[in-house]
Amino acid sequence: MITYLQDHFQQTVERFYTHAWLAVLPLVIGLVLAIPLGWLASRYRRVYPGVINLAGLLYTLPSVALFVIMPSIIHTKILSPINVVVALTIYTVALMVRVIADALIAVPAEVRSAAVAMGFTGPGRFLRVDLPIAVPVIVAGLRVAAASNVGLVSVGALIGVDQLGSLFTEGFTLFVGSIVLLGILLCVLLALILDTTIVLIGRRLTTWQRAVA
């Protein structure tokens, strides 16, 4: 494994970075898209079942199926990493809409009333009161999504996208286990980095919890 790393250092680093942004970009876009959708579902109860069921449906689909079907929907080339990004964004949205909707619904009614009574209105209240309270749950969901995405990006090697997953295909073709192991370790490392980052951001946003603890 060490020799492989020495010989292919530059390539491995590049693959690491590609893997990283292929995993993170859908997380960010997915989160941004999921917040308004989740808010809609939490605010308008009639919309909730429809949105949640659709999200559930999309989440049920195996990601590799999404990767493969993407080109015919958005007319990209088969080998394009865009397929991976779009597919994983859909996946992240499907997961996070539910988490965000439930987190917002769980904001205690008394807190909302108090905020309104104090003069917080509309988007201000949402950003300054509801969302911060929902942060811990959203963070938990995001951690699941992040770990998930790191694993799923590696599947992209099957459709020819070059990232850490390519270490798996190379290792398999050459029948060299240690290359595969390297890939696994780097994936776990990336997953840990993302996980820790998310937790730290979450902590920054919820300083009140630490004060209580």
Binding site: I52, T60, P62, I69, I78, V144, L158, G165
Partner: protein, 250 residues
């Protein structure tokens, strides 16, 4: 979009050992085989940990840790590790199923454990106080009330297995992933797309079946699905949150 139907539209692709029905069957075989083992391992373990409370930290920790592993990588690695020592017929099947089981266990395990833990402590106390033995409390009170979460966990596991079984085609397994991989090496996008669609449909169908089982097996008193409404809680949100795929946010 029409390109997808090219492959499926050709009747030749629906017969023979590499035809659609055969591959679907193979995929189902792998899925049910792995799911059976997952249930055999995760359910008793989850029930034990939930009922006695011992080992909960270890369980939660391992479940979380396993989530960080890349499925594809694990699959390839285990196959490389073991396949050499196995007879040819099992060489790829055994390690693949092994990985499918390893990847499927966390979801079912944490859901079972969480389900038992979530049972109303007052109901548990009352059950013991009325004279039920430990195992009576478990089977007559805890399990029926834990069913929604347990079944959600099994559902998540199942979907995880279906997805990974698709990828397992890369390590020479059969199943619907074959269409995707063969399609790619043959530069036949239509075949790839057909495989993708079939896998998607299969996943959705299996999910609906388990959802149906859930509805049949779980007591209405637990899901909140009442035919006559009472002064109790509103049914709608309770059912969606308990029947939908549970996010393992432990």
């Amino acid at each position: 979009m029409g390109v997808i139907w090219n492959y499926l539209g050709d009747p030749a692709h629906w017969s023979g050992s590499d035809g659609v029905p055969a591959r679907v069957l193979e995929h189902l075989e792998y899925t049910f085989l792995a799911l059976a083992f997952v249930c055999l391992i995760a359910l008793p373990l989850g029930l034990y940990v939930g009922h006695t409370g011992r080992g909960s930290v270890a369980i939660a920790g391992t479940a979380n840790a396993l989530r960080a592993l890349p499925d594809f990588g694990l699959l390839v690695y285990v196959v490389l590790l073991i396949s050499g020592r196995l007879p040819a017929s099992l060489a790829y099947l055994l390690p693949s199923v092994l990985v499918l089981v390893i990847l499927g266990v966390p979801a079912a395990l944490s859901a079972t454990y969480a389900g038992i833990q979530a049972v109303d402590p007052a109901a548990r106390d009352a059950a013991r106080g009325m004279g039920m033995t430990g195992s009576q409390v478990l089977w007559r009170v805890e399990v029926p009330n834990a069913l929604p979460l347990m079944l959600s966990g099994i559902r998540s596991s199942m979907l995880q297995i279906v997805a990974t079984a698709t990828i397992a085609a890369y390590v020479s397994l059969g199943g619907l992933g074959r269409f995707i991989l063969d399609g790619q090496s043959q530069r036949d996008y239509s075949q790839m797309a057909a495989g993708a669609v079939l896998v998607g449909v299969l996943a959705i169908l299996l999910d609906l079946i388990v959802a149906g089982i859930q509805r049949l097996v779980v007591s209405p008193g637990v899901t909140g699905r009442f035919r006559t409404a009472g002064p109790g809680r509103r049914p709608s949100l309770v059912t969606s949150s308990q029947e939908g795929s549970v996010v393992q946010t432990t």
